[in-house]
């Protein structure tokens, strides 16, 4: 596989907030079409890694390439769902206008949205069963509905790669399953998906590869987790709950794994 087939390439990436090293010497490459789960403890650097890949933060050292180029330039081709806790939930904005924000990249600065943009927005709202909510304020929606709105916003411009930061933290189990099923579908249609989660349970069912991060990054392109990297990442053996497919979750300590 040559480097063009990789969506994300990190080489010796280190990043610190003041004296605290959050990401240390991370190197890994994510293939196009992958469904990557990024797991790790709170404060382990999951969100920071995502922000580095998206060019929101600049690494202290090392290089990051997204979709074959500098993230600052290529990230407009990516979709992104931020952690909901960072959002201003009471903001006066309608569901329709939130989703239409996803089309900003296709209109230049200072240009108005067109009637075509409005139609595209309504089309994706319909796909998510949200068309009847289009005029409603985002603050009037339930957690699960809001998450769908953010998903619609990230997907309205047909991104090549989709990043999600804890997308199901304010969603009930059924709602979460809906979202994961949807992600699996768009992944089958060729969109690369990168999912940050602390819910290891979902990994075995949906993801293709795993990155464990606790300052250091352990990348497993085959999606197999072993006790060693779980120990290194979480500091102790974590209770792994496997849904279905038991063969890919519990691997013994000595088994080979690709530490990047």
């Amino acid at each position: 596989m040559n480097s063009k087939d990789f969506c994300i390439e990190c080489l010796n990436v280190t990043f610190s907030y003041g004296p605290n090293t959050v990401v240390k010497n991370a190197s890994f490459s994510v293939a196009a079409g992958d469904f990557l789960g990024i797991i790790g403890p709170n404060g382990g650097g999951k969100t920071t890694l995502l922000r580095l890949i998206l060019g929101v933060l600049k690494p202290d050292s090392g290089t990051i390439r997204l979709l074959g180029g500098d993230p600052i330039k290529t990230r407009v081709r990516a979709g992104y769902i931020p952690q909901e806790t960072n959002l201003n939930k009471g903001f006066p904005i309608s569901v329709h206008d939130v989703v239409m924000m996803g089309l900003t990249r296709s209109r230049g600065i200072g240009r108005f949205f067109t009637s075509d943009d409005k139609k595209r927005t309504d089309a994706i709202l319909e796909q998510f069963g949200l068309l009847s909510f289009r005029k409603r304020a985002i603050s009037d929606l339930s957690g699960g509905q809001r998450q769908k709105v953010l998903l619609a916003r990230a997907l309205v411009a047909n991104p090549e790669i989709l990043f999600l930061d804890e997308p199901t933290s304010s969603v009930d189990a059924t709602g979460a399953d809906d979202i994961y099923e949807y992600l699996q579908n768009i992944n089958k249609n060729g969109t690369t998906v990168v999912l940050v989660t602390h819910n290891i349970g979902i990994l075995s069912r949906y993801i293709k590869s795993v990155a464990c991060i606790n300052t250091e990054v352990f990348f497993h392109p085959d999606g197999k987790l072993d006790e060693h990297s779980i120990n290194r990442t979480f500091g102790c053996a974590v209770d792994l709950i496997a849904h279905g497919v038991p063969h890919r979750v519990f691997h013994t300590h000595g088994e080979t794994c690709n530490h990047a």
Binding site: R51, L54, G55, V56, R75, V76, A78, Y80, P82, N86, L87, N88, F91, P92, I93, S94, D97, V98, M101, G102, T104, R105, R107, I109, G110, F112, F113, A137, I138, S139, D140, R153
Partner: protein, 272 residues
């Protein structure tokens, strides 16, 4: 024609009230949704340093206030972006520093008496025609910025990270918003004075937010509310011989109280 409109200073005061309300409605909405009212208050007080400087140099007050308001808003923005956790402290320091510099500069001009009260509490009854033209220009700048950059301003106000990933230069937009705040502060100081700037920034926008969940409508609604409060305040001031700035603020505060009660009644009615 009502009898108070036969005086030129009253006509100018009404025109000023309308012009200022347009700026307050638009920029106040941005202040409220971005939670920048402390910063706006800081800019207003720091601008007093500019008044001191103008007095010291013997130039027109507006020429001192404009650079101080713009400079302090950009500096406060810069510092609070670098250190979000402590931004309130930093703004508080600059708030006080600006005022202190102003007072000392006026002290340094021996024998000079400047009517401090008119800048603390406003002098809408004494606005010159020249200043009315300046306000017209500032309104034009504010309206065109918000008109052409609406989707960008909405984007960074709601979700800055997503907006910057979508190709919006978030930092530049943030500083544009701060500049709009500074320009509006410059207008407001002359109308209600720096102490009551916060009232006209936040009250009309907060009332509008009770009744609409759309940023555009919120801007229009708070502009109209601002006009209503300034005109009501001016009539009260004229009729009872009260200070104009205080009368405007009192009418806005009363309006806010009524709006909250009205909103509660509407919600109760819906529940039944």
């Amino acid at each position: 024609m009502p009898d108070f409109l036969q005086y030129e200073f009253m006509r100018n005061a009404f025109i000023t009230g309308v012009l200022v309300s347009i700026a307050c409605g638009i920029v106040g909405t941005l202040v409220v949704v971005n939670k920048l009212s402390f910063l706006a208050g800081g800019v207003a007080h720091a601008a007093y340093g500019g008044l001191g400087l103008a007095t010291f140099l013997g130039i027109s007050p507006v020429n001192g206030i404009i650079p101080f308001a713009l400079g302090s808003s950009l500096l406060m923005g810069l510092v609070s972006r670098r250190n979000k956790e402590r931004s309130d402290t930093v703004i508080g320091v600059m708030w006080a520093a600006g005022m202190a510099i102003g007072i000392i500069l006026i002290d340094l001009k021996p024998g000079y008496y400047v009517d401090l009260m008119s800048y603390l509490f406003g002098s809408i009854m004494a606005v010159s025609l020249q200043n009315i033209f300046l306000m017209l220009l500032l309104d034009a700048i504010i309206i065109s910025c918000v008109l052409f950059l609406y989707k960008e301003i909405l984007g960074i106000s709601y979700d800055e990270e997503f907006a910057s990933i979508s190709g919006i230069p978030a930092r530049i937009l943030y500083y544009i918003i701060l500049m709009l705040i500074a320009l509006t502060v410059i207008m407001l100081i002359q109308v209600v004075g720096l102490i009551m700037v916060i009232a006209l920034f936040t009250i009309p926008a907060s009332i509008a937010e009770l009744f609409t969940k759309d940023l555009k409508r919120m801007m229009i609604m708070s502009s109209v509310l601002g006009m209503f409060f300034t005109i009501t305040g001016l009539i009260i001031s004229y009729s009872f011989n009260f200070t104009a700035g205080a009368s405007i603020v009192i009418s806005a505060c009363a309006g806010y109280g009524l709006a909250v009660l009205l909103k509660k009644a509407v919600l109760k009615h819906r529940l039944q």
